[in-house]
Amino acid sequence: MPPEIELFGVMMPSLLPVFLLSFALMVVLDLAIGRAGLYRRLWHPSLFRFALFVCLFGAAGLLLIR
C-alpha cells in the first residue's frame, strides 16, 4: 500500500484505514479474550489490551505500508 491514498478527491494517510481495521480486529479479539476469561489471569488487563492494540496496529502498519 502507498503511504497516502485518495478518498473522494482527498489525500489521506493510509495509516488511517489501517488504524480502523486494527481497531475492528481488536474489538473482535477483545470479545474473544473476555469470553475465554483470560483477562482474569492478567496482572494489568488494560495494559495488556493497550499493548495488544499497539502490536496489532504496529505490525499491520509496518507490513502493509511500503
Partner: protein, 698 residues
C-alpha cells in the same frame, strides 16, 4: 505525621479518612495534569494547529473513574465525527450566504441540545458534542470557506488525540475502577432489599415506610443502570455480564412491585377489619421470611438464598392450602386467593432474582439469558422547548455578531454554544452557569498571570510545564471537591482556553484581553439565556407532565402489545419517578403525592398486565372476556384522566367483571386486586371515591 503511624492510632479515624480521600484526589490531579501535558506535547510534535484544543479535550473528558472516561470518550468521538461532517456539509452548502448559514447552524445546535435532554447518560454528551463540534469547525473559518476542510481535519485530529491520551492515561495508570463502585452498589442494594423483605415479613408495613423504601429502591435501580452503561466500556468481562445485569435489575424491580402489592393488600384488609384474612396472609407469607433468615455470615449469600427460596416456593402451595381451608365465605376466599397468588408470585420472583445474582457472583456465564432492556421514560415536549431555547439563543447571538461586526463575536458564540449545550441537562442550569462562570473567570485571571508573567521567561517544553502546572492543578483539584460542582471544570477550561498554547507561543495582550472579554460575554449570555427562557427540566410544568406520563403507564399497560411489556412497564415507570423526584424537595407535600401515585401506578399497572396475560393464555367464557376487557378499558381511562365519574365507571366495570369471571379462575384475583387498589383510601385514587362510599369504607 505519616499514614503508617495514624494506622496504629485508632484515635484519629478522621485523619485516615481525610488522607485516603486526599490521596485519591491528588492521584486524579496528577493523572489529569500528566495527560494534559503529554497531549499538548504530542499535539505540538504532530504540528497540529491548536494544541489547546487537545488539552481542553483531555480536561473535559478526565474523570476519577476510568469507566467514565472511556464512556465519555466513546460518545465524544462519535459526536465529534458527526459534528465535523455536518459542519463541512454546512460550509459546502452555504459558503456565501451567511444568514442562511447561521440559521441552519442554529437549527443543528438546537436539535442536538434537544436530543441531549432525551438521554441521561453520556449519550447526551455525544449529542452536545455533535452540536458544538460543528460550531468549532465552521465558526473560525466562516470568513474563509476554502480553509474549512483543513480546519475540520485539524479539529478532529486534535480532539481525537486528546481522547486517546485521556483514555490511555486514565485506564493504564493506577486506574480507579468504576467496576468496583458498581459491584459495591449492586451488593449493597441486594443486601438492603433482602434485609427489608426479611424485616417486614412480621406483618403490617405502614404506607409512609413503604414510600421511603420504594423511593430508595427506585433510585438504586436507576443508579445501577446508569453505572452499568458506563462500566461496559471499562471492562470486556462486564460487557459479557451486561445482559445478566440488566436481567438482574428487571427481576429486582418485578419482585419489588409484587412485594409492595402484597403489602398494600394486607394493609387494606386490616383497615377494613378483615383481620382474619390479613393474619392468614401474613402466616402464608412467613416461610419466605424464614427462608431468608440465615446465620449472619451467610445472610446475603445469593446461592444459598436461592436454594432456600426455591424449596420454599415449591412448598408454598401446600402451606397456603392449610390457611385457605379456614375460609368458607366466597368473599373471604377471593381476598385470600388474591393475596396467596401474590405471595407465590413474590416467592418465585425473589428466587429468580437471587438466582441471577448468584450466577453473576459465581462468574458462571454459560448459556444465554433473556434479553431485556431498561427503557427510559421521555417527555418529547421538554426536548422541544430545549430545542427552541437553544435555537433562539444562537440566532440572537449570530444576529448580534452580524449586525455589530464584532471581531471576536466568533469566540463569544463558540463559548455560548459549548455551555448552552453542556449545562442544559443540569438540574439547575442557572446556578450551574453562575458557578461555571466564576470558575471560568478565575481560570482566565490565572491564565493572564501565566501568559504574561511566568511564560515569557521560559524556554522549551519543560519550562512551560513548570510555569503553568502550579496554576493548572487548581482546576482538577477543585473538580474533586463535591462542594463546588462546576467551578473546577470552569477553571480548567478557562485557563487552558485562554492560555491558547501555540508553537511558537504568541504574546499579544490586546488579543488576549479582547478574546477574554468575548469568552466571558459568551458564557454570560448562555447563562442569561437560561434566565430568559428557563430550562424545562425540573419546572412545575414538566413535573406535571411527567406525573401524567407516569399515570399513563397504566393506560399503556392496558393497551400496548404484551411481549416484553412487563419489563418495559417496570423500567419506564421507575425512570419517570426518578426524574420527577430529582426535582422535588424530599419530604415535601409534592414528593409524598408523587410517591403515592407511583405506588398506585406500580400496583395497578402490574395487575393489569397480569390480567391481560391471563386473558390471552387461558380459556374463559366469552362473557367473562368481554367484561374483563371493559374493566381494563375503564381502569385505563381512569388513570389517563382521573375524575370521580370515571372512578365510578371503573369501579362498576371491575365489579361486573369479577361477577362475570367464574369462581376459581386466576383472572378473578387480578380483578379483585384492581378493585381493592381502586378502593384504597390511602392511595391518591381514594380522593376520587364518592363521599358516602369513602365514609363507608373507612
Amino acid at each position: 505525621m505519616s499514614a503508617t503511624t495514624t494506622a496504629k492510632l485508632p484515635r484519629w479515624p478522621w485523619l485516615r479518612a481525610f488522607l485516603a480521600e486526599e490521596s485519591r484526589a491528588w492521584l486524579f490531579v496528577a493523572k489529569s495534569l500528566l495527560a494534559m501535558y503529554v497531549a499538548a506535547w504530542l499535539a505540538m510534535w504532530l504540528k497540529l494547529e491548536q494544541p489547546s484544543t487537545t488539552m481542553i479535550t483531555v480536561a473535559v473528558v478526565m474523570h476519577p473513574h476510568s469507566g467514565m472516561v472511556l464512556a465519555k470518550s466513546f460518545y465524544r468521538a462519535l459526536g465529534t465525527l458527526a459534528g465535523s461532517l455536518f459542519g463541512l456539509a454546512l460550509i459546502a452548502l452555504f459558503p456565501q450566504q451567511r444568514e442562511l448559514f447561521f440559521l441552519v447552524l442554529s437549527a443543528w445546535l438546537a436539535l442536538c441540545a434537544g436530543g441531549a435532554t432525551l438521554y441521561r447518560n453520556f449519550m447526551a454528551y455525544g449529542f452536545v458534542l455533535a452540536g458544538y463540534t460543528a460550531a468549532i469547525v465552521t465558526l473560525p473559518t466562516v470568513g474563509n470557506p476554502l480553509n474549512s476542510f483543513d480546519s475540520a481535519v485539524m479539529r478532529v485530529s486534535e480532539v481525537l488525540l486528546g481522547i486517546l491520551v485521556a483514555a490511555v492515561f486514565s485506564d493504564l495508570l493506577l486506574p480507579q475502577r468504576l467496576r468496583v463502585v458498581l459491584r459495591q452498589s449492586a451488593r449493597t442494594q441486594f443486601a438492603r432489599f433482602i434485609d427489608f423483605v426479611r424485616e417486614s415479613t412480621g406483618g403490617a408495613l405502614p404506607r409512609a415506610r413503604m414510600e421511603q423504601a420504594h423511593l430508595e429502591f427506585v433510585r438504586a435501580a436507576v443508579h445501577l443502570e446508569d453505572l452499568r452503561a458506563s462500566v461496559i466500556f471499562e471492562d470486556p468481562e462486564v460487557r459479557m455480564r451486561s445482559a445478566r445485569m440488566r436481567l438482574l435489575n428487571q427481576r429486582y424491580m418485578a419482585a419489588a412491585t409484587s412485594f409492595q402489592s402484597l403489602h398494600h393488600l394486607i394493609n387494606r384488609l386490616q383497615r377494613r377489619g378483615r383481620d382474619a384474612v390479613a393474619q392468614a396472609l401474613i402466616g402464608a407469607y412467613r416461610p419466605i421470611g424464614e427462608a431468608l433468615s440465615l446465620p449472619l455470615a451467610e445472610q446475603h449469600d445469593p446461592a444459598l438464598l436461592t436454594r432456600h427460596l426455591r424449596v420454599c416456593a415449591e412448598r408454598l402451595p401446600a402451606h397456603v392450602a392449610t390457611f385457605r381451608a379456614r375460609f368458607d365465605e366466597p368473599a373471604a376466599r377471593l381476598e385470600f386467593d388474591t393475596g396467596a397468588a401474590l405471595v407465590q408470585r413474590f416467592a418465585d420472583e425473589l428466587a429468580d432474582f437471587t438466582a441471577v445474582e448468584a450466577s453473576l457472583r459465581a462468574g458462571n456465564l454459560r448459556g444465554s439469558v433473556e434479553r431485556v432492556h431498561f427503557r427510559r421514560g421521555n417527555d418529547l415536549a421538554g426536548a422541544a422547548v430545549a430545542t427552541l431555547r437553544t435555537f433562539l439563543t444562537m440566532l440572537v447571538l449570530a444576529a448580534f455578531w452580524l449586525a455589530s461586526g464584532w471581531a471576536f463575536g466568533g469566540s463569544a458564540m463558540l463559548l455560548a454554544t459549548i455551555f448552552a449545550g453542556l449545562l442544559a441537562a443540569s438540574p439547575n442550569p442557572i446556578a450551574a452557569a453562575t458557578r461555571t462562570f466564576y470558575g471560568y473567570a478565575g481560570g482566565m485571571a490565572a491564565g493572564f498571570v501565566a501568559v504574561f508573567v511566568l511564560l515569557p521567561g521560559s524556554e522549551g517544553f519543560a519550562m512551560l510545564v513548570c510555569a503553568t502546572a502550579g496554576l493548572l492543578l487548581i482546576g482538577p483539584y477543585l473538580a474533586t471537591r463535591d462542594a463546588l460542582p462546576g467551578v473546577g471544570a470552569g477553571y480548567t477550561l478557562g485557563f487552558v482556553y485562554i492560555l491558547a498554547l501555540k508553537n511558537p507561543m504568541v504574546y499579544d495582550p490586546t488579543h488576549f484581553l479582547n478574546d477574554a472579554i468575548a469568552q466571558v460575554a459568551g458564557l454570560g449570555l448562555s447563562g442569561a439565556a437560561f434566565m430568559v427562557m428557563p430550562g424545562v427540566t425540573g419546572t412545575q410544568w414538566q413535573r406535571r407532565r411527567q406525573l401524567r406520563l407516569l399515570r399513563e403507564q397504566v393506560t399503556l399497560a392496558a393497551s400496548a402489545p404484551l411481549p416484553g411489556l412487563m419489563w418495559r412497564f417496570e423500567s419506564v415507570s421507575r425512570d419517570l419517578l426518578q426524574q420527577v423526584v430529582a426535582h422535588t424537595r424530599p419530604d415535601s407535600e409534592e414528593s409524598h403525592h408523587l410517591l403515592a401515585w407511583s405506588l398506585a401506578v406500580q400496583e395497578s399497572g402490574r395487575a393489569v398486565i397480569e390480567l391481560r396475560q391471563e386473558l390471552s393464555g387461558t380459556d374463559l367464557p366469552a362473557t367473562a372476556r368481554e367484561a374483563s376487557r371493559a374493566a381494563l378499558e375503564a381502569v385505563a381511562d381512569l388513570y389517563r384522566a382521573p375524575t370521580p365519574p370515571r372512578w365510578q365507571v371503573a369501579d362498576a366495570a371491575v365489579l361486573a367483571a369479577i361477577h362475570a369471571v367464574p369462581r376459581g379462575a386466576t383472572a378473578r384475583s387480578h380483578l379483585y386486586q384492581l378493585r381493592s387498589a381502586l378502593r384504597d383510601e390511602e392511595s391518591p385514587l381514594g380522593a376520587y371515591m364518592p363521599l358516602p362510599e369513602a365514609a363507608h369504607a373507612a
